[in-house]
Symmetry: C2
Subunit: 182 residues, 2 copies
C-alpha cells in the first residue's frame, strides 16, 4: 500500500512552490491524472516568464518579478537594480509519480507524443516522469540598471506571449490525449 | 545477443552529427563508457555556442556559425542577416544506451550526482539515458542585421567561456567518477 499511501499523503499536503498555489490552467489536467490509480502529480507549472538575479542554480537565485499569464509591456518596467537581471521563459512542466516501471513507461510514451523532452527522472523507490515543453528563453535584460536588449520590446512581448499560448494549447491537447486513454 | 550486436553496429557506423566528428574533449569519457559490456554511447557534445535562425524546432533551424571551443570577440561579428538571429549556448549532452533497466538505473544514479538534469529518455526496446548540463542561453542577438544586445560584448564573451569551462570541468569529474566505478 506504499504507493497509495504516498499518493494520499502527497495530495493532501500543502503546496510548497514559490507561487504557493496550483495555477487554475493546469488543474483539469492534474485532476484527470490524479483520478487514475496508477498515477499522482507532485508538481506542475503551466509556463512562466520571470526576471531573476544570481547564479542560476536553484538555491542561488532571487526572483524579481514573474508572470504566469500573458504579459503587457509594463512587465518590462523594472527599477534600476544593480548587477545583472536575467529574463527567462520556462515552458510547461509536470512531474508525475507512477505506480511502477510499467505504468511509467505507458505515461512516458503518451507524454512524448506531444512533449518530446519528457523523461523518467527517478526510478527505484519512486518512478517519476517529467513532462516538459521544449521552448526556453534565457537572456541578460538589465545590467547595472541599464537595459541591454536594444531591440523592439513589443516584439519580445509578442514572442513571449506566443510561447505561453503555444504551451497552453499543447497542455490542452495533452489533457485530451490522457482523457482518451483513461 | 541483440544488445551486443546493436552496440557493435552502432559504434562502427559513421558519425551523422552536424559536426561530422566526435570532439576530442569528450573522447576519453566515451571510451571508458564503451569499454563496459553494459553500455554504449550513441551521441555526445561537450558543449557549444552557436547562432541560429528559424523556429527553433530541430528540423526548422539553420545554423549560422558554431564554436565548440572558447570564443573570442570575433565570434560576434556576423554579416547583416535579415530576420532574427538567435544566440544559443547548449551544455554538455550525452546519450548512453544501457543493457537493461537495472544498468540504466545504475548509470542514471551516477550521472545525477554531477548532472542533475540527467534522465531516462527511452525504455522498452532500448534503455537510453540522457546526461546533460543545466546551463542555457537563448537570446535574440541580431534583428534585420542590427545588434539587439546593447550590453558589453566582452562580458557576454566571458560569460559564455566560463560556461564552457565549467562544463568541461564537470565532464572531467564525471569521467573520473565512471572510472572509479568500472
Amino acid at each position: 500500500m506504499t504507493f497509495e499511501n504516498d499518493k494520499k499523503n502527497f495530495l493532501t499536503k500543502q503546496d510548497k512552490s514559490k507561487k504557493g498555489s496550483i495555477d487554475t490552467r493546469v488543474k483539469p489536467l492534474l485532476n484527470i491524472i490524479n483520478s487514475s490509480l496508477q498515477y499522482y502529480t507532485t508538481s506542475s507549472c503551466s509556463g512562466r516568464v520571470y526576471f531573476w538575479q544570481g547564479t542560476g542554480k536553484k538555491n542561488e537565485m532571487k526572483w524579481v518579478t514573474v508572470s504566469h499569464e500573458l504579459i503587457t509591456s509594463a512587465f518590462f518596467n523594472l527599477p534600476p537594480i544593480p548587477g545583472t537581471v536575467w529574463l527567462r521563459f520556462e515552458p510547461f512542466i509536470l512531474h508525475v509519480c507512477c505506480h511502477d516501471i510499467s505504468s511509467a513507461h505507458t505515461f512516458l510514451n503518451l507524454a512524448r507524443t506531444i512533449f518530446k523532452k519528457s523523461a523518467l527522472v527517478a526510478m527505484g523507490k519512486k518512478y517519476l516522469v517529467e513532462v516538459r515543453g521544449s521552448e526556453f528563453l534565457e537572456m541578460p535584460f538589465l545590467q547595472e540598471g541599464k537595459l541591454v536588449f536594444s531591440g523592439d520590446l513589443s516584439w519580445l512581448k509578442n514572442w513571449i506571449n506566443s510561447q505561453l499560448e503555444q504551451n497552453w494549447e499543447k497542455m490542452k491537447k495533452f489533457e485530451k490525449e490522457i482523457e482518451k486513454e483513461s
